[in-house]
């Protein structure tokens, strides 16, 4: 960096004195910074707003704080509607001593996790249709135990099967801001590979059984949470 750095303040004010962050706004930023720094678990925008006295927009303040930390050793990450400070991912090599024994997932569990993440809310039968094999109870149990997967309510179809989805803990673990950030999510969607609404013969390559598997497409309305 050879030129004098433009600071975020410069950018925000654009030379306009009236647009300067007020002392109050700076104080609000300090408060958010302190609370988020102290916490280990992500905090929701609403939880954070409760610490603010003024009517300032917590969301806007958080985005400002996030921008401030963008190039730093610690980042302010957005996790769903929650926020948390986390070390920058490129510095992972520094922190190997803190590395915890990572949970190892079987190939089946990992594949099931991916299917749940990309296709949620998804029933067990739908997972099985994609993988082409039965999902063992142990696999779903394992995923529920990790707290990365949760039950998302029953689908309003005969038999009212349970659907599964991912949690904020999942987003936090994989450093995802939202499900839209899942690797390749957009490409997969465009290729029609995340479409649940498939012709009946998609479900099983067994012509005799094909018609039993006519599933209604999933709407959000189907999910009773």
């Amino acid at each position: 960096m050879s030129a004098p750095p433009k600071t975020s303040d410069d950018k925000m004010t654009g030379g306009n004195v009236t647009a300067l962050p007020s002392a109050e706004r700076r104080e609000e930023l300090r408060v958010l910074e302190a609370v988020l720094f102290a916490a280990r678990e992500p905090l929701s925008t609403a939880q954070l707003a409760a610490f603010l006295e003024g009517g300032d927009d917590a969301e806007a303040l958080l985005l400002e704080l996030q921008a401030h930390y963008a190039g730093r050793g610690v980042h302010l990450r957005r996790i769903g509607d929650k926020w948390a400070f986390r070390t920058a991912e490129d510095l992972s090599w520094l922190l190997q001593q803190h590395r915890k024994e990572t949970r190892k997932l079987s190939q089946a569990a990992l594949e099931t996790l991916a299917i749940i993440a990309y296709h949620q809310p998804v029933t067990r039968a739908e997972i099985e249709a994609i993988r082409g094999v039965a999902v063992s109870k142990g696999t779903l149990d394992t995923l529920l135990q990790t707290r990365w997967v949760k039950m998302r309510g029953r689908k309003r179809v005969p038999g009212r099967p349970m659907t599964y989805g991912t949690t904020d803990t999942f987003l936090d673990h994989f450093a995802l801001t939202s499900l839209a950030d899942l690797p390749g999510a957009r490409e997969l969607k465009e290729a029609g590979l995340l479409d649940q609404h498939l012709p009946p013969d998609f479900k099983l390559p067994d012509p005799a059984r094909a018609k039993d598997h006519d599933l209604d497409p999933l709407d959000d309305d189907d999910i009773v949470t």
Binding site: F85, R86, S92, I130, R131, F174, A175, P199, D201, P205
Partner: protein, 281 residues
């Protein structure tokens, strides 16, 4: 081999393992919760199909389903030649692919919207399923390669927890206070009446006394007489009568005394049997 009787009850898993001896080594889905190097093999027929499709070394969108069906059927045939037990779902897939193959080879009839899907459509759908499975496999890998909390990125090492201090204030008014005091004093001031514990005769106690007394009496005697002998206090009599009556029934059933009564509510007579045996024999 797999046809031996001891193996005939083999599970589907076992059958898969048999099939999989044919296939190259790879990890597969497992019931186990943790990753482990699993039995070599495929996680079902779709997995096998996907592996065969990859061997065509073309983009899955350009896969030849006809060629794939033939490869799969050849694979299954080979497995059967080796007399391997095949899991049912592999065979169902084989049957379906044979059907699809025959339809792909036959000239298509005129398209009829009422009819079942055309062979072309079925083939496209199968290709789509394979692409979807592969996409999810790749997504799973990409997901796992992401920075992970506790592996690549870390939370604050010394979080400073929020202390929630509860300030409890208690509430009470003077009336509640005086009422509580007066009620207690009223209760305590009323002279204390102690209700004496009423002695209760258990059936066991009654029986013990009756046995002692009946040993001394050789002829018929009213039960009441015995009760008066051991239940000396009038207030004990009710309990003693009930217990003694139950005890005599028990003793009569065991066959060591006789009971006699002329009519309802008449005095009950008891007599020890001449050869009556005691309870403990």
């Amino acid at each position: 081999m797999s046809s031996s009787p001891s193996m005939s009850s083999s599970t589907e898993e076992f059958e898969q393992r048999q099939l999989l001896q044919l296939s190259k080594s790879r990890t597969a889905a497992t019931e186990a919760d943790i990753m482990q190097v699993e039995l070599d093999g495929y996680a079902g027929p779709l997995d096998l199909l996907l592996d065969l499709a990859r061997n065509q070394k073309v983009d899955l969108t350009k896969i030849s389903i006809l060629a794939l069906a033939e490869q799969y059927l050849a694979y299954i045939r080979k497995a059967r030649d080796l007399k391997l037990d095949l899991a049912a779902d592999y065979l169902v897939m084989a049957a379906w692919l044979a059907y699809l193959k025959s339809r792909l080879l036959l000239p298509e009839p005129e398209p009829d919207p009422e009819a079942e899907p055309t062979a072309e459509e079925l083939a496209r759908h199968l290709a789509h399923r394979l692409r979807r499975l592969e996409a999810m496999r790749e997504a799973a890998k990409a997901l796992w390669d992401r920075p992970q909390l506790g592996r690549d990125i870390f939370p604050r090492g010394m979080p400073e927890p929020v202390n929630i201090r509860k300030d409890v204030t208690y509430d009470a008014d003077l009336y509640d206070l005086l009422r509580a005091y007066a009620d207690r004093r009223n209760r305590e001031a009323v002279q204390k009446v102690t209700i004496r514990k009423r002695p209760v005769w258990s059936i066991k106690q009654a029986r013990q006394r009756l046995e002692e007394l009946l040993d001394l009496s050789l002829s018929w005697a009213p039960l009441d007489h015995f009760i008066i002998l051991f239940a000396t206090e009038p207030e004990q009599r009710r309990s003693a009568t009930a217990s003694s009556f139950a005890a005599t029934l028990e003793m009569a059933r065991e066959g060591w005394l006789e009971l006699r009564q002329s009519k309802a509510f008449a005095p009950l007579y008891v007599k020890k049997k001449a050869n009556g045996k005691k309870n403990e024999t």
